[in-house]
Amino acid sequence: MAEASTLNSVASGNALELRGVTKMFGALAAISDITFSVRPGERRAVLGSNGAGKTTLFNCITGDFFATAGSIRLFGEDVTTFPAHERIRRGLRRTYQISLLFGGLSVADNVYIACRGVSRGRFSLLRPRRGDPLLTRVGELIEAVNLTEARNTLVSELSYGQQRQLEIALALAGAPRFILFDEPAAGLSPTERRELIEILNGLPGHIGYIIIEHDMDVALRVSESVTMMHNGRVFKEGTPTEIENDPEVQELYLGDGGHSHG
């Protein structure tokens, strides 16, 4: 029975499938009845004003919070009741809006912890040996986000932009299949933004993602579909052009200074 439903979803081929996902905080519904699905490799932007429930949605997908109602399927598997680490081990990744990095450790250590988290030997009492393939991978990831120079720097001493880049390196550790980016461009300089767009567009084609982004220029350049949220509900879905030209959306979001955010 369970197998049959798994096969069904595999047949439908969605990377992520949300059905009626609701999260209550007391009597307040932070998000309610969210239903949408994302194909493997699809890149989607989630837009919406502050308090629209975007980050809560991410927290429900990753398992930081459990959804109050509804179901979440990841690559055909129902993960609604799975703890966060189980979902991560199935290829899901996320970045955080407010940097949640390990300030007392170096850049290399941070990336190493991330790589180790989704491989065997998480409980190993033995230090990594020279030539450990994981260490090579750590070096590659650091290079991918242009942090090679800062490899041995303590994370607490990195600039804000560098910390954002490290966030992305952590999300790319292991073999991610689907990534949730929570406002990766917030607070970045124009140059850093361009770098970010390059990194996102340079991701391998099989990696899909959802990106929360206030900056429409960034959001529309790195996504092929858009979900618009308002007051905890899905308000509109469409291609970037459709959303940009939708009169209701313009009135709701773009009209009141969407560009000026970030």
Binding site: T62, G63, D64, P83, A84, H85, I88, R89, R93, R94, Y96, L100, L101, F102, G103, G104, L105, S106, A108, D109, Y112, I113, A114, R116, G117, V118, G121, R122, F123, S124, L125, L126, R127, P128, R130, L135, V138, G139, R151, N152, L154, E157, L170, A173, G174
Partner: protein, 358 residues
């Protein structure tokens, strides 16, 4: 935490052209001096110092080290460490030989020592599994509650723990024809165990497990989002710490040649916390410094108090005042004082450096 890391060293070494210094060259000079003095101590110190002062320091240091591991790397202040140590001590008394012939099982040493350590580790793991559901002050409360329950249980249970009087004549086995309770062998035995557990903690703190534990301390949510089972990691830390505490507990019982409810009483439980805090919870050497201060105060304060015409039994007042002074001037314990002194020295040498951390 320490800022030198093997990963960094490994990467750096691929770029450096000159050969990397061997591990002998990397050990700083003060460590060589302390190590040398520790080795030749039996030539300098008399039996009282070897057995009572240094032996006891190493033992209490190990038990406090297990707390430092949990608190410093895992962010979990556990008051169960003395009970875990006591459990191992009771283990060797019950499974091995003691003055209570009918209660002790008389197993051979190669069986009762590992089994006692395993039992204590299981005990510590179970307590850990309960305690990791809580954070901060609540971890302290729940471990203190279990520690005091264990104390009352040992005092009231006569079938296993022999109640109020406990076990006497619990002595180490005569291995290799050596009486390990004689001062010089006992000194080297405790020194060896202390050094091994110190090195184990230093090594593990940079292993994947140790790094992840520090990650769990700094950002449990982030660690879960990286694929780590945060709860399992915390519980495993209790298991690791329990093994160290268990070895310390066995040595403690051998030193006193007896174990009783008083060994695991609340004052003993609190003393371990005091030792760890006074020494400093940030580095594994801290608990040993704290233990030395504690043992010196405990051993010599009656003389000092009598010199001032006070009752020798007021040594706890002196220990308490010492604790207050150190915590008042340095929340990081003696290690914190030392760090600040070094920072001041460095700034004196280099006027261009500001007061920044590094």
């Amino acid at each position: 935490m320490s800022t030198t890391d093997p990963l960094g060293e490994i990467f750096a070494s691929t770029r450096r052209s000159r050969p990397e210094p061997s591990w002998i060259e990397r050990v700083p000079l003060p460590v060589w001096i302390v190590g040398f003095v520790a080795l030749i101590m039996p030539l300098i110190a008399n039996n009282f110092w070897l057995f009572q002062v240094f032996g006891w320091t190493f033992i209490l240091g190990m038990i406090a080290l297990s707390l430092m591991f949990l608190a410093g790397y895992g962010g979990m202040v556990s008051l169960i460490q003395m009970s875990v140590a006591g459990m191992a001590g009771y283990g060797v008394a019950i499974l091995g030989t003691s003055g209570m012939g009918d209660l002790s099982l008389g197993w051979p040493w190669w069986l009762y020592i590992p089994v006692a350590i395993i039992i204590a580790a299981i005990f510590g793991t179970i307590v850990g599994a309960l305690a990791v559901r809580t954070e901060g002050i609540y971890t302290i409360m729940i471990t203190l509650a279990i520690a005091s329950a264990f104390f009352y249980f040992t005092r009231q249970n006569y079938e296993i723990f022999n109640g109020y009087s406990g076990f006497n004549l619990v002595v180490p086995p005569r291995l290799f024809g050596v009486d390990w309770r004689r001062p010089i062998p006992f000194y080297y035995l405790t020194l060896g165990c202390a050094v091994l557990s110190y090195l184990a903690v230093v090594y593990v703190s940079r292993s994947p497990f140790g790094l992840a534990l520090q990650g769990v301390r700094d950002g449990p949510r982030r660690m879960a989002a990286l694929g780590y089972n945060v709860t399992a990691h915390r519980i495993a830390a209790y298991t690791f710490a329990s093994v160290i505490a268990a070895v310390g507990g066995i040595l403690l019982v051998w030193q006193n040649s007896q174990v009783s409810p008083g060994t695991v009483g609340i004052p003993a439980v609190i003393d371990i916390l005091v030792i760890a805090v006074v020494g400093g919870l940030r580095r594994p050497i801290g608990p040993f410094i704290g233990a030395l201060i504690y043992v010196l105060l405990r051993t010599f304060s009656p003389d000092i108090l009598l010199g001032f015409g006070l009752s020798g039994e007021r040594f706890k007042t002196l220990i308490g005042m010492g604790f207050l002074l150190i915590v008042f001037f340095s929340p990081d314990g003696v290690l914190g004082l030392w760090d600040r002194w070094r920072e001041r020295q460095r700034r004196k040498r280099d006027p261009l450096r500001d007061g920044g951390k590094r």
